[in-house]
Symmetry: C2
DNA sequence: ATGAAAGCGCTAACAG
DNA sequence: CTGTTAGCGCTTTCAT
């Protein structure tokens, strides 16, 4: 910057002002401004954002904490967050905390020390103590996918309850009265709501629910495999499975195939999370689709409005509808008496 | 920091030294050091990495440029880069440049202005002019997935040639003599090598290659659909398809299903990129697996060694083997005479 | 074993 | 319309 200024015989202040688009404001002559642009370009000068950040106490940087970026559900969300952030001049620092609450905590501290202007967080989700502090610290933050009623914080999630309710109701309409549920990580809002939807669909139809039909303890592929194995080994096999995530479904399918069973002839299935490949599975899968790209976009928009506003921002909760995509994995059962 | 220093009645210099782990070096008394740690923790003091970065001219930050983070191939690579980076104290700034060379250029400039210590780049890959400048700028950089022979720069890629060669040879061994190739983005090293492998497998077997069997122009789902449609509408349909990416395969499968054909009875198929769902497709897919997590890990390791060394780093090229995973999508043809 | 002070590159009062 | 100057929070030389 020194050099640029010297070359034109002008002060670095002027250079700074022109390059930060404040030429107008300070009524700098067009001639000077043009010269600055020209020389800066020639010399390949590019302002140091680190120094700038230190001075203006704003880094134009957001933090993004994700439990597993290789999960297509999260990577799609991440994509739309990053794209929108960049559109508004923010860079995104990514942290994959590997489904580990301790890492989540460390990531938050790290990002704070890097002076991010805001934070988007997909929490592991069983525990919110460590989130309390940061929400209260005044750092703009929005939570995605999971939420905590006790936290005064904006969030954007899917309507997991209704999504599950519709899916299970659809199974019941097809005369399934013994439906297994392979749930995800217990004590997360996502799971609680999906299981609640499952239960309420049963309740609505006055079908008694055998509690042992609910199995599983996390959202992974392995958990789906184990859950399905358990369900399939029951004395009376359920006629359908409701799976709480795409990964669970993959694991469950392995178990089902291993047992020599066919979807939907031997057992019907509905899976949460639509995927590009859902249509091309052994049996095209009926799924509960979430609006992942919208989740990402809205998350950034919410954060952006917080970062812009001076005052303590109001908390906004966005709940996006899901959509039941009917394919071929559910068979209509004959009513036997 | 002021406050911490004041509270113990010591200079900020001392606080800085203790907190940056240099207490030993400056032979600061254990008593003082302990006090510093204690008070800093009490006050919730956490050093400002932005100020630190400005002063020491190193941000402990790397840039990661990816064409599409929602593609599971890239998101897995990104994951292992980020995880390793964090292990060594680096934060990762992510940029999804949406398969657009112009955005790739902008992202590079942006990351430079943010003073990243190094850069990992999955280039769009047809053009390398803009990369020349940055490689020569001395910024540590490693290129992933695609590469440019003219660039003196470390890279880590899969052995695309051999992967394709093995896949197509396998088809030929199963007596397929009319194999369609749905290629990816032309003029990328990835595609060039895969198509070269395809050609050489033909050549090795002395089977004449009808050039019109090579179709397609990008790695996306849509391109796979179009490519397959073209192949399937030929007077004499190929007996097998070699697909250059996971997304291409998804599109191709759609076309195949639409035509009422079955894999592998009507047409055999091999796809590049193994996926968690490959085993559960209509027909379990025979694939060419790349070592994505290793690619990510090695990419960071290469970058790290560059960032540590003072001298101009040597360029290292790592080529990882692929693995043919045989499932059920290839049928052994009878030899007809 | 510790401190004073300079300075990283930039911006914003304040002063013309 | 432009320049002078102080200072963001930290590290590091030099001094003691």
């Amino acid at each position: 910057m020194q050099n640029v200024a010297a070359k034109i015989g002008v002060s670095i202040t002027t250079v700074s002002r022109v390059l930060s688009g404040q030429a107008e404001k300070y009524r700098i002559s067009k001639r000077t401004a043009d010269a600055v642009f020209k020389v800066a370009a020639e010399m390949g000068y590019v302002p140091d954002q680190v120094a700038r950040g230190l001075r203006i106490r704003r880094t134009n940087t957001i933090g993004l904490i994700i439990p597993d970026i290789s999960n297509p559900f999260f990577s799609t969300i991440a994509r739309y967050i990053e794209i929108n952030a960049r559109k508004y001049g923010y860079s995104t620092i990514l942290s994959d905390c590997q489904e580990d609450t301790q890492m989540e905590i460390e990531s938050i501290h790290l990002l704070q020390s890097r002076k991010v202007d805001g934070l988007i967080l997909c929490p592991i989700g069983e525990d919110s103590d460590h989130l309390m502090a940061i929400v209260n610290s005044g750092l703009p933050i929005v939570i995605v996918d999971r939420y905590f009623p006790e936290l005064a914080c904006s969030y954007v999630i899917s309507d997991n309850y209704k999504g599950a309710f519709e899916a299970v109701s659809y199974l019941i309409e097809n005369n399934h009265h013994s439906i297994g549920c392979i749930q995800g990580r217990i004590n997360t809002s996502v799971n609680i709501n999906r299981v609640r939807g499952f239960r309420d669909a049963y309740k609505k139809s006055n079908i008694p629910l055998d509690e042992s039909l609910i199995v599983g303890e996390n959202f992974g592929k392995k958990d789906g495999y184990i859950g399905a194995k358990i369900l399939l080994s029951r004395k009376t096999r359920p006629t359908a499975i409701f799976s709480a995530s795409n990964l669970i479904s993959l694991g469950a399918m392995r178990a089902i195939l291993e047992e020599g069973l066919t979807i939907p002839d031997d057992i019907s299935m509905i899976s949460f999370d639509d995927q590009p490949y859902s249509d091309y599975l052994v049996t095209p899968m009926t799924t509960v689709a979430q609006q992942t790209s919208e989740i990402g976009q809205i998350a950034f928009t919410l954060l952006h409005s917080q970062m812009k506003s001076e005052s303590k921002p109001m908390v906004e909760s966005i709940i996006l509808p899901t959509k039941l995509i009917i394919r071929k994995s559910v068979k209509k059962l004959e009513l036997t008496v």
